[in-house]
């Protein structure tokens, strides 16, 4: 992709700019699709129909919502810290969007083929916490502050098991480059890391249960990191109004929303790269190629996003103490044991 763009525009700043903007186009389209489908899935799970009036089965509703948000008054509370209040949504979005830089969408396109890709993603997605804390603090509102602090404590505690799960994968693949991890799993569904990767059969059999547990741990952590039900105590509507974005209106609110949905895809995409073969086709060389790769990556990512939405409308919200219990007393010990097991299997 970068060679292709270079051949058209030459080795200029424009090429780099276009490469950087491509994921933004993806995020915007993806956010509209997810916004619509989440409402539809939620409604159908509750035996309702959701939007039916705007276009066929309400397909135009996300555009209507977007238009509405664009027209909304942009309110900044007088007691708010103006600078931080304005900056916060952008910090959150930048933290999320920066992660797209290393996501390998296809064998032909990855914003940047960083050798420390995974490390970079984990580091950069922590910037989101800063943004959320800024939003909560600058709003000068008790609910916002509670939401922000809850969010920070939650994300920090869940990053540990998530990082351990990532570490186990890195121990198997021997690289942090997301493209390399994907290539490692190429050659069909049996080579995906959740099924033990392309290792000798003896190793695979031992790795299989460990990898499934690790995938589960990573997925639970990723749900907690995007602040969605059952881990949505930062925005618990019934107790905290709307959490850290209570005071936000109009486009700033929309940016928070966009960041949440983008973050949802980022964590799902990381899970896809780590455990489900990234952009590689499940049928080996069949249906592979740059375009198919893009399809498979998006398809797998959206599938995980769907599972996330599905879980959201299934499980109730966890209490704060339950949340900490799950992280520190269940996920962390299990992740540690899994890391030790993976190490032992790889050494043998």
């Amino acid at each position: 992709m970068d060679q292709f763009l270079q051949s058209i525009f030459g080795d200029s700043i424009l090429t780099q700019l276009l490469l950087g903007v491509l994921p933004l186009v993806f995020v915007l389209v993806y956010a509209l699709v997810t916004l619509y489908s989440e409402m539809k899935i939620a409604a159908h799970i509750q035996d309702r129909l959701a939007y039916m009036r705007t276009g066929w089965h309400g397909v135009l509703q996300p555009f209507a919502d977007m238009l509405k948000l664009l027209q909304k008054e942009d309110i900044i509370p007088t007691a708010a810290d103006k600078l931080l209040f304005i900056l916060a949504p952008y910090v959150v979005f930048i933290g999320t969007y920066a992660a797209f830089a290393v996501l390998p969408f296809s064998s032909a396109y990855a914003g940047s083929s960083l050798d420390l890709g995974l490390f970079y993603i984990i580091a950069v997605s922590a910037v989101v916490v800063v943004g959320i804390l800024m939003a909560g603090w600058a709003s000068n509102n008790k609910w916002s502050l509670f939401g922000a602090i809850r969010s920070a404590s939650q994300i920090i505690s869940y990053e540990i098991p998530a990082a351990l799960a990532v570490l186990a994968v890195v121990m198997i693949t021997g690289t942090m480059n997301m493209n390399e991890i994907t290539k490692f799993q190429a050659g069909g569904i049996q080579n995906w890391l959740i099924f033990g990767g392309p290792l000798p059969l003896g190793h695979k059999l031992f790795l299989l249960p460990v990898m499934i547990v690790l995938a589960l741990i990573y997925y639970v952590c990723s749900m907690a990191e995007v602040n969605r039900t059952p881990f949505d105590i930062p925005e618990a509507e019934s107790e905290l109004v709307q959490g850290y974005n209570t005071e936000y209106t109009g486009m700033k609110f929309a940016i928070f929303y966009l960041a949440e949905y983008a973050n949802l895809f980022v964590v799902s995409a990381i899970a896809v790269v780590l455990f489900f073969g990234g952009w590689s086709s499940p049928f080996g060389s069949f249906m592979s190629g740059p375009i198919w790769d893009l399809f498979w990556f998006t398809f797998k990512g959206m599938l995980l996003v769907f599972v996330n939405v599905w879980l959201r409308w299934t499980l109730p919200r966890l209490r704060v103490d339950q949340l900490m219990y799950v992280s520190w007393k269940v996920l962390v010990p299990f992740a540690l044991v899994c890391v030790v097991l993976v190490g032992a299997i790889m050494v043998l």
Partner: protein, 211 residues
């Protein structure tokens, strides 16, 4: 149970019940919706629903019992007595109508849909219907007037009543005068015939009854 077993059982239960829940919600994803597309499709209301009030003025006898029963005083009724020579007709239940009803207002904005007004009605002319779509932009539009009389009709009714009343008072005065005259005559004739003295008084009391 020992703490270790409890710990693992907790984890097992957590994952297990989450999977059961996901199974249930996945099933519901494909069950047809139980809701209806409201403005296009409407649900059939049950037989005895209590929604907008309706008054059949042909049957109303102006007895005011619904207004008295109303706990929020949303019914206002005014009546005019009919003159003795006017026939207002019969209700569908074969009771004679004796009162004009120039005003029968229901402020449906105040109505609490308890249905208490419908029970005391002797002719069952005030009923609750199944109409529930009657929102308005102005609150005053929610005061429903059921009275059918035009201002002219009200005026004639009032004039007629006044005339009838005057006639009645004239008659009464005449009767009283006649009675007095009879009494005077009786007193003049002496106590020789006490029985006929009661006779003139009888028609006078009869007049009073019809007035």
């Amino acid at each position: 149970m020992n703490p270790v077993a409890e710990y693992f059982k907790g984890i097992y239960d957590g994952v297990h019940t989450a999977l059961i829940g996901m199974g249930i919600t996945f099933g519901h994803l494909f069950t047809p919706a139980v809701t209806v597309q409201y403005p296009d499709v409407k649900m059939v209301m049950p037989e005895r629903v209590r929604n907008r009030l309706y008054v059949n003025m042909d049957d109303c006898i102006g007895c005011d019992q619904c207004a008295k029963a109303c706990p929020v005083d949303c019914i206002t009724i005014k009546t005019i007595k009919s003159a003795p020579d006017v026939d207002l007709g019969m209700t569908s239940r074969n009771t004679k109508k004796r009162l004009y009803v120039p005003q029968f207002d229901i402020d449906i904005a105040k109505c609490c849909y308890c249905g208490l007004c419908t029970f005391p009605c002797p002719t069952e002319c005030i009923v609750m219907t199944d109409v529930y779509e009657f929102s308005e932009y102005d609150r005053s539009n929610l005061i429903y007037s059921f009275a059918t009389m035009t201002p002219a009709e009200i005026e004639t009714a009032q004039i007629k009543l006044k005339k009838a009343d005057e006639e009645a008072t004239v008659k009464k005065a005449a009767a009283a005068a006649a009675a007095k005259l009879a009494a005077d005559q009786k007193a003049a004739e002496g106590a020789s015939a006490p029985a006929p003295a009661a006779k003139p008084a009888a028609p006078a009391s009869g007049d009073k009854g019809t007035a």
